[in-house]
Subunit: 389 residues, 2 copies
């Protein structure tokens, strides 16, 4: 259909990848990781795997071989400086700062709208338009080559005019994630694993989760979306016309002198909704969504139990110990210690313990109660201890 000059020998995925622009939404505090994650220092700004890199830096480096410098980050105004500190290569025009949190449809939608406006300005239309791929800043993925292969297949599939998600092959019947119900194999050259998506389903109960996993037809929804920006915006316009109109107005002013003023005026009025409701689910209903099953391990580092799981290399006997210069002494104990101070931490006879030691706050809980940290943070806020949140 296009006047592409690619020779028949060129793999379609190679030319599709030329259209690829990575988008990294870096929002969310990660309340279940308090007091490590804070409003001022959210999860993605921490090294939670002992890799030496923050999660956002790791995300960037994971994508770089595919995207090169075509990377956009959407984050809160308060974190702009910290993000640039982590990603000095990032072009300032590709750093989108939200005056306030507006959920994922606005964040990802604005990235799509800006990229589309640039396409229009540059005369790139149809099969030349940008294919964006959105990947959260705070997920942990390994091995990276398997991830890159899945993204490559997703981009190739998106190039056929699909919204493509990468679903994770479940390792256990988790009730903490939404699921993707897969359909027939979807024939795409360079994307041998592509399948149709029948529907997205919410976090299930335990029995349903077990049935899902046993069926072999469900994948975890990891919130990864790869799509031609024009197609994504079409679906957004249909499902959320007000949001679409606002984002289009901001995008028209982007890269101009009016950018800041228009953003400040329009953004606060935008509706708050998730990209799943605004785009993915209606697009799936329309038969417009495909999925690449990801066989890599994936963790959204939802709580401190995840930290223990993700850091086998940091184990001192039965304790996972994280920190720049941890001074941890443990006897007859197991669990995880995150030490952000130079204090000596002595643990005696405590099992599956979680100790997070920071300058102004200390958490002591167990891996079994890791999910309850969110309620504790809520209670601290109500108690007036917001200075440590």
């Amino acid at each position: 259909m296009t006047s592409s000059s690619a020779s028949p020998q060129d793999p379609p995925s190679a030319s599709a990848l030329d259209r690829f622009h990575a988008v990294i939404p870096a929002g969310g505090v990660g309340t279940r990781l308090w007091p490590l994650s804070r409003e001022g220092a959210p999860k993605f700004l921490h090294d939670l795997t002992g890799s030496g890199s923050t999660l956002i830096r790791s995300t960037y480096e994971r994508l770089f071989p595919l995207s090169g410098h075509a990377v956009m980050v959407v984050t809160g105004e308060a974190h702009g400086e910290a993000v640039l500190g982590q990603l000095p290569e990032l072009r300032t025009a590709d750093l989108v700062l939200e005056p306030e949190p507006k959920d994922s449809a606005a964040a990802i939608g604005l990235a799509a709208a800006i990229l589309h406006a640039r396409d229009v300005a540059a005369g790139r239309t149809g099969a030349e338009g940008t294919i964006m791929g959105s990947f959260a800043a705070d997920h942990v993925i390994a091995p990276v080559p398997l991830f890159r292969d899945a993204v490559g297949q997703a981009v190739a599939t998106a190039a056929t005019g699909k919204i493509v998600t990468i679903g994770i092959k479940p390792t256990h019947p988790s009730t903490a994630f939404g699921y993707i119900r897969t359909g027939e194999h979807f024939p795409v050259p360079d994307a041998p694993d592509a399948h149709q998506v029948i529907e997205f389903v919410e976090k299930p109960g335990e029995q349903v989760a077990q049935d899902y996993v046993a069926s072999g037809r469900y994948l975890w929804n990891a919130g990864m979306f790869v799509a031609p920006v024009a197609l994504l915006l079409d679906h957004l316009a249909a499902a959320e016309p007000d949001l679409y109109a606002g984002l289009t107005e901001i995008a028209a002013a982007w890269d101009t002198a009016d950018q800041t003023e228009v953003m400040a005026r329009i953004w606060p009025k935008l509706p708050k909704t998730a990209i799943d409701y605004a785009v993915a689910e209606p697009a799936a209903d329309a038969g417009d969504v495909a999925v690449i099953p990801g066989t890599f391990t994936w963790d959204d580092v939802g709580d401190f139990a995840a930290i223990a799981r993700l850091n086998p290399a940091a184990q001192q006997e039965n304790m996972t110990v994280l920190g720049t210069k941890p001074r941890v002494y443990s006897e007859d104990s197991s669990g995880v210690v995150v030490s952000e101070t130079q204090r000596v931490v002595a643990l005696i006879g405590v099992q599956d313990i979680v100790v997070v030691d920071t300058d102004d706050a200390l958490l002591v809980t167990t891996t079994d109660h890791a999910q309850s940290v969110k309620q504790a943070v809520k209670a601290l806020k109500e108690k007036g201890d917001s200075d440590v949140l």
Copy 2:
């Protein structure tokens, strides 16, 4: 026997109390209370009961109605200033600073020797000589009137020419304390509860401890000794002649310009032994020891389990919380938190937990493991973390 001018109406205990001089040995770090207790800030310098007073101040105030200003403190050189800070009323001549720890026989023996030297210099002999009463600086006692009654009886009994201990009526078959085997009632006016002591016995095993308590004839040895200083020194001279000779030489120079020089020269050479071996046990074998059973509650605050036990008033729901300005949030948790910092401490789903939060060290253990803190401190020392000990 004496030329006392007391009328027959005067209670003998009143005149005996005139001879009373309290001695407070303030030694021992309280390693099981690390990181609250330190080499630089031992147990007796802390308020461990939420009373608003340090243990040594409470000890002083408990004795003051009996002793007035006749109080001597024996402590390490490093703690002299802190002790004076707690006891500004203390006469400097009654502050005995040990150049190094030498165990209780040297500490209590030196107090006796100094008080005896003063008696000799003042021409007080025989039934006019000082009766000392030695009470550790770091014990918790209540109600105080019962304690004072026991001390009054002990002084009256000591005035008959006995070494008197105050033994605690056991509330449970503890294996953490030595026991006192009591004999016949010992007739002393003004000391209706006095009994002979048959022997002191070491910390027993569980079965033996149960037998002791069941017999009703055993008391806990709380290390409280009340005795005429001349009699105490006689027994010390017999059992530990070298120690006695050294202490006598120091005492002769006390209250003179040579005090410091002689102390520095003699003290380091003194043998290290406990007052129990050097005086109490041989004196008991000689039939020279009596006991007043104490019906007050007594706790040597041996570990953090004791702290929880001693602070019912500091409970927030199921947590005992101690500290100047604790900011403790607990959910589905029980145990004890000692907060020496201004940090928020959040506890979720931890039972019988012990958290001690200080500027440079953090302890997390359980009340069941409270006794193990001593080994942890030893391990930290071996590891090179002595800066926090």
